[in-house]
């Protein structure tokens, strides 16, 4: 130690601090999934590096005002903002150490609650009260109900004909769930009241995000296989998927409704967030330079 100390004294006076080369983990990179407080003016986007970015949705752009890191051991699959809950938080469905898990994460970055599962949790959507959420599993094709006031998730249904269930959309008024089958390109409709399911939509490629618009009764479907977003009228007698937006989408992975009836789309391959009007007109993209 004496020799070490000597060297320190000899060279210490000449020490010049160098800039750290560590990567900035908060860089916005490859958005995957998103949700908003509403549809509202706050947008939460989880990107490939596991950072949850918090944006303010303005008239002509997005302004990032914060970010938190999701625990690195957790592989997120879907996200849902919990309305009317304090502190403000999101539910994130995914896997940890090979097992399913739903995590309630505060916007401050603290894990508030967890619901473990035997199966891979792939989709999640919650109601307006913030107490109830529904979770789909991709390996057992089941739907679970989570009550944030309880510790255990409750099995609601199994979709026997499904191949790989993914995202979920919750029609709270009619108490119906829409669940996408990512592998077979279909959307199932499940009635909580009658406990029955049926194929709601076909002729999709790989639907990776669903959003239900309670105001219009429209279901938005993001389909990266067809590089497009489709809509379907859930009140129609014979619902069909109709093109909502395609250009300039490359891989629309995530989607949510934001304020003023607009639709935000997380495009993985374009490395951007696109915001469309309710009629499918592109309003702006973030970051604007890409």
């Amino acid at each position: 130690m004496d020799m070490q100390f000597l060297v320190l004294v000899l060279f210490g006076f000449a020490l010049t601090p160098q800039a750290a080369l560590a990567a900035d983990r908060a860089t916005f990179e490859r958005p995957i999934m998103m949700d908003s407080n509403g549809p509202g003016s706050e947008l939460y986007v989880l990107d490939e590096s596991g950072v949850l970015h918090e944006f303010l949705v303005k008239e002509d752009g997005l302004a990032e005002y914060g970010h938190i890191a999701v625990p690195s051991s957790f592989a997120a699959a879907d996200i849902s903002f919990l309305q009317s809950k304090t502190p403000a938080s999101v539910l994130i469905a995914g896997t940890q150490s090979g097992r399913g898990l739903v995590m309630r994460l505060s916007i401050g970055g603290r894990v508030l609650q967890t619901w473990p599962s035997q199966n891979v949790c792939s989709g999640v959507d919650s109601g307006s009260s913030g107490n109830v959420a529904y979770v789909a599993t991709s390996d057992s094709n089941e739907i679970y109900r989570i009550d944030t006031r309880q510790a255990q998730a409750k099995l609601v249904a199994r979709i026997p004909d499904a191949s790989k269930l993914g995202p979920v959309a919750f029609d709270e008024l009619r108490q119906e769930l829409y669940v996408a089958d990512v592998a077979s390109g279909q959307v199932y409709q499940y009635s909580i009241a009658t406990k029955t399911s049926k194929v709601f939509l076909t002729h999709l490629s790989a639907p990776t995000a669903l959003v239900f618009d309670a105001d219009t009764g429209r279901l938005f479907i993001a389909d990266p296989g067809q590089r497009a977003v489709f809509i379907a009228d859930t009140r129609a007698a014979k619902p069909a998927a109709v093109l909502f937006a395609s250009d300039p989408l490359k891989a629309p992975y995530g989607m949510t409704l934001v304020s003023e009836g607009r639709v935000a789309v997380a495009d993985y391959n374009a490395d951007s967030i696109f915001v469309f009007s309710g009629k499918g007109v592109l309003l702006f993209r973030y970051p604007a330079a890409r």
Partner: protein, 399 residues
């Protein structure tokens, strides 16, 4: 914009309407055609077992008659992978540019079914989705497909890539047995061996990001690899990834001075490699650890040697009143100290760097390539028995 006049596909018609912002007409079109059955042949793929490590199942969405760029004239390689039915009546072409891995561990691609020869064959377009299960690596596999047109059904085989996001790390990295030696003066190139197993897809490394335990020790850690000039690791081969390491001289020397033992790394670099399989695999990241020891470089080592020799001679003169042996001229004594110091340092470096020997000085396993050990070694050699005895007395240790 798609050719709206000649478009027959319902999807393309919708695309045209979207581009013209004819939303009301779009709903009407959809309502009229929403449940019309596509007129083309039915395309299905068999599930395929990948080396007993997993299975891929497929679904195919009929997008109707293709009226794209001159009906994909010729479906030329390498953009298209082509197979054909056993009776050669249909050709199946997969557009590799369309392949993408999407969320929930699935992948999609566009396939074209071609019937007939000549200048204007019939071409139908399909959007297929692959659903992998298990832990197999991205691989090229032979997939059976079936074409059903009315009562007629034919089969064929196509060689195509399949992908699986659930697979573990795809790159093999040799475990580092010896610490990498990095000179603090200038730039040192470090080679990292990367391998890829046989019967898999080529891997393209597109980015290398480094984080360091001692960030202030480094001026730059870089690689020439980029998305524009990736490093490709072919199946069954091993390639070396060159890394340019430029330490910050003083902080690196200080970091080295704190770890005298030759088997202790001065810093550990966490190299995060971004890569994907070819064609069109998703970006993956894999972290490789590289342990390094800093060295002063030739110039720094020479300065340390000279300084050590000078100090050793000065100490010997103070202790004994002379520079050399009895009757030895001062110039001869200085020259002898210089030569012996260099020889001792050279032998020390050779034995420790290229042999299994260790240099133990005052009970410490030291590395003579480091600045301070070289300085001490030169001082003891030039100082001779007088200085060595004085040091032993001072510290109470045996060299």
């Amino acid at each position: 914009m798609p050719n709206c006049i000649s478009t027959k596909s319902r999807r393309l018609l919708a695309a045209c309407a979207g581009s013209l912002r004819m939303v009301p007409l779009l709903f009407l079109t959809s309502a009229l055609n929403g449940f019309a059955q596509p007129a083309g042949p039915q395309l299905t793929f068999d599930s395929v077992n990948i080396r007993q490590e997993g299975v891929v199942s497929f679904s195919a969405l009929d997008l109707g008659v293709d009226v794209g760029p001159q009906s994909r004239s010729g479906f030329a390689a390498p953009q298209f992978l082509v197979g054909e039915t056993d009776d050669q009546s249909y050709r199946l072409a997969i557009d590799t540019a369309s392949i993408q891995q999407v969320r929930f561990n699935t992948f999609t691609f566009t396939a074209y079914l071609v019937h007939g020869l000549g200048a204007s064959p019939e071409v139908w377009r399909y959007q297929a989705t692959g659903n992998p299960t298990g832990l197999f690596r991205d691989s090229p596999v032979r997939v059976s497909f079936h074409v059903k047109n009315g009562a007629n059904s034919v089969s064929g085989v196509i060689l195509m890539p399949v992908y699986n996001a659930a697979a573990g790390n795809l790159l093999g990295a040799e475990k580092q047995t010896d610490l990498a030696y990095v000179s603090v003066s200038g730039t040192t190139t470090m080679q990292i061996a990367l391998s890829n197993v046989a019967d898999s897809l080529p891997i393209a490394v597109t980015d290398v990001a480094a984080s360091e335990d001692c960030p202030q020790c480094w001026a730059r850690v870089g690689s020439m690899v980029s998305a524009q000039s990736p490093l490709v690791v072919d199946p069954g081969s091993t390639v070396t990834l060159p890394l340019s390491l430029s330490p910050s001289t003083i902080p690196a020397l200080l970091q080295g001075a704190l770890a005298i033992r030759s088997d202790v790394p001065h810093d550990t670099l966490s190299l995060t490699l971004t890569y994907h399989t070819l064609p069109a695999g998703m970006d993956r990241r894999q972290t490789i650890l590289a342990r390094v020891r800093f060295g002063p470089g030739l110039f720094g080592l020479a300065l340390a040697l000279l300084g050590g020799i000078a100090l050793g001679l000065a100490a010997k003169y103070l202790l004994t009143g002379k520079l050399g042996n009895d009757g030895e001229r001062a110039v001869h004594a200085i020259f002898s100290a210089l030569v012996l110091g260099v020889v001792a340092e050279f032998i020390g470096i050779m034995l420790t760097a290229y042999g299994n020997s260790r240099l133990i000085l005052f009970g410490l396993d030291i590395d003579p390539r480091q600045l301070f050990p070289a300085f001490v070694l030169a001082m003891l050699v030039s100082g001779g028995a007088a200085v060595t005895a004085w040091v032993k007395d001072l510290f109470g240790k045996k060299a």
